[in-house]
């Protein structure tokens, strides 16, 4: 996956309005789109994304339907697309089938929030056979061995969890964030490091980039903006965040 740096990744939930929202996010300055494939019991997600997932499921969204939305987004925008979901979803679809169909729909990366490196062998093989970069997560609590294992197993980028807890916009990120970014940078070598979870404001974006990250991922705050005012509000929100990026 060729990520523009600094990267500004916007997370959206797979739903019928996601293609319009993705186009708006890219107009606002998003350099990649992460597309959530809804799961009934998303343990890593806070209220905003839980609600978005439940809404999508209530509207009849399926995994196949989400992959079709991904293909539609791929026709509309020209940035890397990264589906994000949970182990139950990719295993139920079939690892090989999931990776093949997602790749055909334009996926370049994949994040599976509850499949850590020690459990991801088969998924890594299926992803790599289909040209998809499997991205692992590191957290403020990861010790050096886990951090290195996640960095080694990651392709495309390493996802650095910037706040303890589930997804959701926060006033303040983890106090160890600067040090963590440094540790992950070292472990990741040439692989980009992107921080996500809790990010909602341009000052946070600027601080994270200043600490040495290659980009940020914004989820709940983007969904909140779209919920408030649709594609237009999302575009404004993303443009404002992008003002935190160095020119």
């Amino acid at each position: 996956m060729e990520l523009k740096r600094p990267a500004l990744v916007v997370y959206l939930m797979a739903s019928s309005d996601a293609p319009d929202l993705a186009a708006a996010a890219v107009r606002g300055g998003a350099t990649a789109i992460e597309l959530g494939i809804p799961y009934s019991d998303p343990l890593a997600d806070g209220p905003t994304i839980q609600r978005a997932a439940q809404r999508a499921l209530d509207a009849g969204m399926t995994t196949a339907g989400a992959i079709a939305i991904l293909a539609e987004i791929n026709r509309r925008v020209d940035v890397p697309l990264v589906p994000m979901t949970y182990g139950a979803i990719v295993e139920s679809f079939g690892l090989e089938r999931f990776c093949a169909e997602a790749a055909a729909a334009g996926a370049e990366g994949l994040i599976v929030a509850d499949v850590p490196p020690e459990e991801s062998g088969a998924l890594r093989a299926a992803a790599s056979a289909n040209g998809i970069d499997l991205i692992h997560l590191v957290a403020p609590t990861s010790r050096e061995d886990r951090l290195q294992a996640a960095a080694d197993a990651s392709r495309g980028f390493v996802y650095l969890v910037a706040a303890m807890g589930t997804t959701g916009a926060r006033e303040s990120l983890d106090v160890r964030l600067d040090a963590l970014i440094g540790r992950v940078r070292t472990a990741a070598g040439g692989t980009p490091v992107l921080a996500g979870f809790g990010i909602s404001r341009p000052e946070q974006v600027a601080a994270i980039l200043a600490a040495g990250a290659d980009g940020v991922i914004v989820g709940s705050a983007a969904i909140d903006a779209a919920d408030r005012g649709g594609a237009e509000a999302l575009e404004v929100f993303v443009r404002n965040l992008a003002s935190g990026l160095p020119a």
Binding site: D41, L43, A88, F93, D114, A139, T141, M164
Partner: protein, 396 residues
């Protein structure tokens, strides 16, 4: 109480193809720490001495086995014997696990405990050990379960626990477990997650089995003492599977039938038979059988019993099913209620609705085994918590 060393999970925490660790990275380090603390504790005679003393003086162990003579006579088959976990302090087997995990939390230096509860028995056990050791307890409970297990909500409050209602989904055990785990993800550095069943990510299924296996270890010795022989079958209800694995573990290498009983709900589409009717998937941190649709979305379950109303099941039961060592059968709401009333009237024992599922199946197994045989049933808890809901349902 010694901890048995057999039938351990592999290095990835798997029983056969089931188990493992499927959780966000944020809590992976805590699972490593828990595993290390557990191994230290199990190797430490002081831990066992402390646990044995609490078991004896605080919980009231060993619990007796009891020959349900009048029930056996009415059923007309094998002798039915009960392992009386209902006589434990707080009224169910859940306290065995809570005591052990509290001791481990103290060894980890964690003074805040989060837990989920369905029937409220694990919540009460958690609140109890937290009161006993001066720990903070936060118990997540589905709104529907708060309604149907009211007495236990009151008990938790009196014991000083904070009960957090969960309205997501159907407001039952699965939803409470989601919220307990989400709390833990945010607070993991200071908080121990005191899971209530033999489920969740490794090492929980193994840890809880080891803490509950004294049920079967005691019962096996007691049967040999009382009957000079082993039972022909052991029967227990299965929600997440902790009382069942606790009973089964001591008998798994013996020549006896092992029968787990899941909730068949309305006897048709609404049930909680993860093992009998589920598919292999991931839920709450481990791979096991899950009631889910073909996309992996977890589907709605139903049981009259809050403790069995759960779409997943501990991974070791999945393994016992896949290897054919145990069979898992269903009992409906109606049949469990009938079993409940028969035990009340014939033996003077009011069982929990969860345990009533095991009793209903034990009657059938006793007829299959026939006169001269012996069936041992795990009476996992007492029914005080259920009397209001049953009275309302039956217009008593």
């Amino acid at each position: 109480m010694s901890v048995t060393g057999t039938h351990r999970p592999d290095a990835l925490g798997r029983f056969g193809q089931f188990g493992g660790r499927f959780v966000p990275e944020t809590v992976m380090a805590a699972l490593d720490e828990l595993e290390a603390a557990m191994s230290d504790a199990f190797a430490d005679p002081a831990f066992h001495a402390q646990r044995d003393a609490l078991g004896r003086d605080f919980v009231g162990r060993p619990t007796p086995i009891y020959h349900a003579e009048r029930l056996s006579e009415v059923v007309g088959g094998a002798q039915i014997w009960l392992k009386r976990e209902d006589l434990n302090h707080t009224g169910a087997h859940k306290i065995n696990n809570a005591v052990g995990q509290a001791l481990i939390a103290l060894r980890l230096g964690k003074r805040r405990i989060v837990a989920e509860t369905g029937a409220g028995q694990h919540g009460v056990a958690t609140a109890t050990v937290c009161a006993r050791f001066g720990l903070d307890a936060v118990v997540y409970m589905g709104a529907e379960d708060i309604r149907r297990q009211r007495p236990n909500v009151v008990r938790m409050g009196m014991l000083g626990a904070e009960v957090v209602p969960v309205t997501a989904g159907a407001g039952t055990l699965k939803d409470a477990m989601n919220e307990a785990i989400r709390d833990w993800i945010a607070t993991v550095e200071t908080t121990h997650y005191m899971i209530g069943s033999a489920a969740g990510p490794h090492p929980y299924p193994y840890l809880v089995r080891e803490l509950q296996s004294l049920i079967g270890t005691e019962a096996r010795a007691q049967m040999l003492g009382a009957c000079r022989r082993l039972p022909d079958a052991v029967v227990a209800c299965v929600g997440g599977g902790s009382n069942a694995i606790g009973l089964f573990h001591a008998f798994r290498d013996d020549p006896c039938r092992i029968v787990g009983v899941e909730a068949a709900g309305d006897g048709a589409d609404l049930h909680a038979q993860s093992l009998a009717k589920g598919r292999v998937s991931i839920l709450h941190g481990s791979r096991s059988y899950v009631l889910a649709n073909e996309d992996g979305q977890v589907v709605e379950t139903h049981s009259i019993s809050a403790g069995l109303d759960y779409p997943g099941v501990g991974p070791e039961h999945a393994h016992l099913l896949a290897t054919g060592r145990a069979e898992y059968l269903g009992e409906s709401d109606a049949d469990a209620l009938a079993g409940f009333h028969r035990l009340c009237r014939l033996e003077g024992i009011i069982p929990a609705l969860e345990s009533s599922h095991a009793l209903a199946r034990a009657e059938r197994v006793a007829r299959e085994v026939g006169p001269g045989g012996i069936v041992l049933v795990g009476l996992s808890g007492r029914g005080d918590k259920d009397v209001d809901a049953i009275a309302a349902r039956e217009g008593i």
